[in-house]
Amino acid sequence: MWRLRLIIDDGDPYYQMALDEAMLLLRSAGVIPDTLRLYVFNPSAATIGYFQSLSRSINKEFILENKIPVTRRITGGGSVYHDARGEITYAVIAGLERVPRDILESYRFITMGVIYAARSLGANADYVPLNDGVIDGKKFSGQAQTRKRNTLLQHGTFMYNTDLDMLAKILRAPKKKLRDKGVSSIRERVTTVSEAVGRRVSREEAVEALIHGFSKALDAELVPGKLTSIELELAKTLRWKYMSWKWIELRP
């Protein structure tokens, strides 16, 4: 049976993105084992996709005024609000021999972890290719994946109780995109597991559900482990990149 190291973690957004990149690099060098990391952005923060324009994907004035940190991911995809009290991010770092080689298939394979997690909490969740987890047509989870040599990093969100009004103030989506999704505002397009099941799901419940969901989706044993010093060292160095405006404004 596939065994993955399980890391549960909490930290600032620059550290979180730096650690994901560090783990991708170190796994591709064969230095660390396949890992599932479940983590919280603390404080709450926004991230944008590698190819996104900062000014067109985020309400920059609002986040500066409200001191909400933002950084750019190494993965593609869209802008995200990571609510410290309502969202858990997962990251799967794994050798390609354990996941479907086909990119579309690998998205499905890993995303089913959040789908099973939401279902186990009573929500009517489904996977919608390429990278959405939806409940009754509304998005509660987004994923983004990149690959380096023989290794895959997929990270994604699990909105169990995100402040969606806050999310709608922070993220920007052009009218063209919303219209194509059949909605007129971001708020209409998103939901949380709590909203869907009509009760407040706690962080502990969400973490438990994700552990259960990913064991099932990956058909793996998740073994609680610790970060190695080499991961922490590399993440500490890479953190400078994620803090720099040069990186954040790579595509202004």
């Binding site: 190819f51 996104q52 690959r147 194509d180």
Partner: protein, 101 residues
Amino acid sequence: MVETIVKSMKVPGGKLLEIQLDYDPNECRVVKLYITGDYFAYPPEKIDEAEKSIESRPLALDLLDIVRDKLSYTTLYGVTVDNIVELLREAIEEAMEKCRQ
């Protein structure tokens, strides 16, 4: 002096694509190209290379071939190379038009 043109489209069933072309209207040259949106590219560096490939070149439609070439071994999800080239064509044509005035 730098002027900016942004062209965007939502690819049906796909992602958002924006082409931002920064150009110098006096010299009729590209200053910078940004191929932005919420799409995915494997490997991602190919997009960086495509953006850089036409930097500081004179505005002309043959720039489209350079960008197309750079993206020939890139796997894209949510947008296609044709989408990128088509939007870039619109941006370059508009920039050339403004340049002549």
